[in-house]
Amino acid sequence: MIPMNERSGSQKMIILSEEQFLEISALITSLKGKLNSRLVIFGDMDGQLIAKNGEIPGLDVTVFTALTASDFSATKEMARMVGSQNEFKLHYHEGSHQHLYVAAVGTQFFLAVIFDPSVTLGMVRIFTKKTLEKIDKILETQPVEEAQITQMIDSEFKSFVKDDLNKILG
């Protein structure tokens, strides 16, 4: 399975279409509602936040996504080092007030759910699994039109980036 639109050989270039983003966002919203969770995050294993629903005061979701992705990759490496043939597919961290459940979506993405102890882990597992399966299907389809992709960067964009960098970095 090639999730989303992957290009350029060994360098990862992932392009999420408008339809994919909207459908995944709707699934995340629905999952958050079903589990009454505080925050649901969909990110990629390189630490990129793709979609989220909910918030926790004081939590920088971008940083949280980078940490979660690295945690997942580190555990995968640990598994490899101890000779495990199967990659770990999920993580569960139990806190006193909040629990964190993280599950892999294929090899490239993950879904993280932060929920409180009133929700059982079994519920989280069942609803998350269903959501993962649906996301997996969405990622298999709907590539972005080639013409649209090339519009993303043009000479005007490059010149604006240069100007903006000068503005914010001096």
């Binding site: 992709i149 980036v161 970095l169």
Partner: protein
């Protein structure tokens, strides 16, 4: 690189590589201090108790909307110490551009070379190579006494003829220039790949 077409967001990952204590974290901390908080998130540093990077440092910043398109830049450092090889491999995965922060001190040449070799080996393991990636060299610590001449560092380290900058990262000298050049190379590289 990641494009979210619905939000017109383009997000790139830049990794600061180099030997231990060469100034990678200092580069990130300076960039963080320069950017207005409305354009950046938090900086996170996973450090040991004696202040050495154990896993990575991370920060993200974004530019304003450019005709509806929003560029985001995620900056990472790797831990330089030799025994954190696995961490470096993890952080390097998916990098769109690399800044190599070399320590200019005479007695650190070996460590610079080892780190460069380690970088190339990790890239090869991913099916990539330094030659295929936007790559910028920074010769840091130019204010110290026992340093090698830039010409010699160029000969020993810059075999790809990459853009390079002299820096004193703890005073911010050369830090912004290095980042700007890296971003410029990354954007040109992405444009080339999108059109390929």
């Amino acid at each position: 690189m990641f494009i979210n077409w619905a939000k017109r967001e383009i997000s790139v990952k830049i990794v600061y590589y180099g030997p231990g204590l060469s100034g990678k974290t200092t580069n990130l901390e300076y960039i963080y201090s320069k950017i207005d908080p409305s354009y950046r998130g938090e900086i996170v540093s996973l450090k040991t108790k004696d202040d050495r990077t154990i896993f990575f440092d991370f920060m993200q910043f974004e530019l304003g909307s450019i005709r509806g398109k929003k560029p985001h830049f995620r900056l990472y450092t790797v831990p330089g110490q030799r025994f954190y090889a696995s961490s470096r491999k993890i952080i390097l995965s998916g990098a769109d551009g690399i800044v190599f922060v070399a320590d200019s001190q005479r007695n650190r040449l070996r460590e610079n070379l080892d780190s460069m070799l380690d970088l190339e080996q990790n890239l090869i393991a991913e099916g990539r190579s330094m030659a295929d990636l936007p790559f910028v060299l920074q010769y840091n610590k130019r204010d110290l006494d026992q340093i090698l001449a830039v010409g010699l560092l160029q000969k020993k380290l810059n075999f790809l003829n990459a853009p390079y900058y002299e820096a004193v990262a703890n005073r911010g000298i050369g830090v912004v220039e290095t980042l700007k050049m890296t971003i410029q190379l990354v954007i040109e590289d992405i444009e080339r790949k999108l059109r390929a």
